[in-house]
Structure formats: structure tokens, C-alpha cells
Amino acid sequence: MTAGADTGLQADDAADWALIRRIGDGDEGALEVLYRRYYSNLYRFVLRVMRRPECCEEVINDVLYIVWQKAADTEPLSRASTWILGIAHKRALKAIERHTRDSIAVNDSEALDLATTEDMTDQVSTRSLAEKAFALLSPEQRAVMELVYYHGLHYQDIALALQCPENTVKTRMFHARKRLRILWPALTGEVPGAASGTEIADTQEMDA
């Protein structure tokens, strides 16, 4: 990351915390600004974790409502986005509990069918592949993967957001990667299992 980009992130974060302070003072206008600023990122994150588009709006509403309730008592100990994504993670998991099961999850054989499809170069296929890949993972694994690769968060920040040990974050990623081995041929053209990694015991919890 360049120094300029880092400075830009810090400025954005300071602006977000300034908004959160105003929200803590009861400023509904500031809440609307934060809502609009975070909506797309939250939608993407919640959709990734839940895989239920029809639930996203409701969960985002919950997230911002909690921001409204907690803003006055929250200290800026992390990036504002980390704090908000942590809330989104909890709300998404609770929403999953409310609904029966991940009804649109596909099984491994469906993913394998897709992985052997030849035309994987266009954007639609890439998106489909990503969807199938995420269907193979648990909600917790999907959350960590999205926080790493889309939001670019360090494992310490993710541990803070999800309120779990750093080793849990690392092993969730590791097991998620193992689950996705089935897709490597489509992704890389390499032989499956060639670089599956060493076996690592998950001492915190088994997500796989």
C-alpha cells in the first residue's frame, strides 16, 4: 500500500469516526450520510455471508440501527469500517439463525461440474464461479474470506471485528482454502491437490 493511499484511508476513517460521534449526539442526518456511504459495502458483505439477497436490506437496517444505539459509547479503537463490519457479521449470523438453512447452498458435485466447465474467462462465469465457491464455505469462512480479499483487512483487525482469537482467523482461512481445492483447476489450470498445503489442526474451532 502506498503512503498516499494510506493517508487517504486514514482521512476516510477520521471522517467516519467524526460522523459516528455526531450520530452519538443524536444527529440523524449524520446517520443518513453513514448509511449511504456504507450501503454498497455492507450489501456486498452481508450477501456474501448470508447468500440471501432478500435479507440484505433488513440486515443493513439492523446494522445502522445498532450503530445509532452504540455510537455514543463507542471508542475509536479500530477503523470505523472494521467496527461496522463486525456488527454486520453478527447481524448476518443472527439472521441466518432466524432463517432455516442456507437453502441456495450447492453441493460439492455441482461445484465440480462448474469447475470443469471450459469457458471460465468472461466476467459472468467468474461471478458464477465465485458464487459456487462461496456456497462451499460456512458463513464464518465466507466472512473471513471477504474481509481479507475484498476489504484487505489484516488478521488482527479481523480478530477484533469478529471478536475471536487471531489463530481462529488464520485457520478459518486455511480451511476455507482447503474446501475450495475442488475449484483450483478452473482457477489456475493446475492439477488438483498439487498445492493443497500441509494439514493443520484447528485448535480453536473446526470450520471445515
Binding site: E28, L47, Q123, Y149, E190, A195, T198
Partner: protein
Amino acid sequence: MNDPTERRLEEHEEVQLLLPWYVIDTLDPREREHVRAHLAGCERCAAAARQEFCLRDLVAAPQGSPGPSDLGVARLRQRIRHDKESTRMRLSTNCASRPWFGFRTALAAVLALAVAVPVAFLAERGDSEDRFRTLASASPKQYSGQGNEIRLVLAPTVTPARMKGLLEPFEGVVIDGPNSAGAYIVRLQAIDPNPVALQNALESLRRQDAVLLAEAIAPIGRP
């Protein structure tokens, strides 16, 4: 621990766990250098790193998330106002249990009524057009006066998606609200501004369980 094979195995594990953050370049310099040095001498882990780069590109690809809607903002504001109202009610209930506070509140209410009733009476006489504006809070200057604008109050359990579904057949657009009573001002764009069409639309809305109140802004037949 001193066994070189065991040590090497631990190093593989350590590097494998750090690979995602090596790929997004957020490791601290010491960890980064450790991973880099290991990958240079381990083809198996280097292959895993290459897969990790592909995975990053796959996961980070754009998804085309929708933008925020005015309806979503309105729902959030409604929820907050409802919350404020509940808090206020709780507070007033608590205060009422204290006898002296109750007396003072009652006295203030009597005095307020003594002032407000004559003022309201005079205001009513001066602006007979407003007598139909129940639940009014927003300024009438916002209304187009086209005769296809309504006040709408929905059950608190109605989700944004449900609200959208209710308004969709009429191409309803929220132009204001919700106010403290939870009332929205909605323009039914698909409805011709004539009394019959508006009456039919209102009746159709009132038949829905989710709709607590649907009323024309202006008295029907008088845009």
C-alpha cells in the same frame, strides 16, 4: 523441536497460515520476509501462493451491489423515531410514578391547554383548508397538488421489500416522511389525478393487512 524435519514442517504450517495476508501485502516486514524466504526455497508453498493470488482475484471481483435507496433511509429513520417515542413513553411512565412530578406535570398540562385551545380554535377558523390534514407534520408546500398524493401509515413490522411491493403497482414514490406518527407522503405516479382513480387506489391499499391508514392529502374531488 530440534528435529530439522519437524522444524521444517512447522515452518510450512506457519507460512501456509500467513499466505492470504502475504498476498494482500498486509504482513509486517518481519513476517513478510519470512514468508518470502520460505517461498523461494519451497515449490509446494510457492504453488499454494500462486493459487492464493487467483483466489484473491476471484473473491475481490466486483459484484454489482445496488446503491442505497431513499426508502431504506426512510425505514431507518422511522425505526429511530419509533425508538425515541418508546423511550419518551417509558420516561413519562416512570416520572408519573413520582407524586410531586405528577402534580407538576398535570399543572403544566392544564396551563398548556389553557393557552393552546384558544390558539388552535383561532387557527382553525383562519385555515379551514387544513381541517382534513390528520397526521400532518410535513409542510404542504412540498405537495404538487396533482391529486395523486396520499398519506400512508404501515404496520411497524412491514419490511422495506414489502413496502416496495405495496407501492409498486401504483408506481408509488415516497416524497416525505415518515413523521413521528409513522406517516409517509407518497405520490402514486401511475394514478391519474382524478377522484375515481385515486379512490380506487386508496381502497386497494386499505385492503392490505400491512396498511394501517391510507388517505388522500387533499379531500378527494378537490385537488
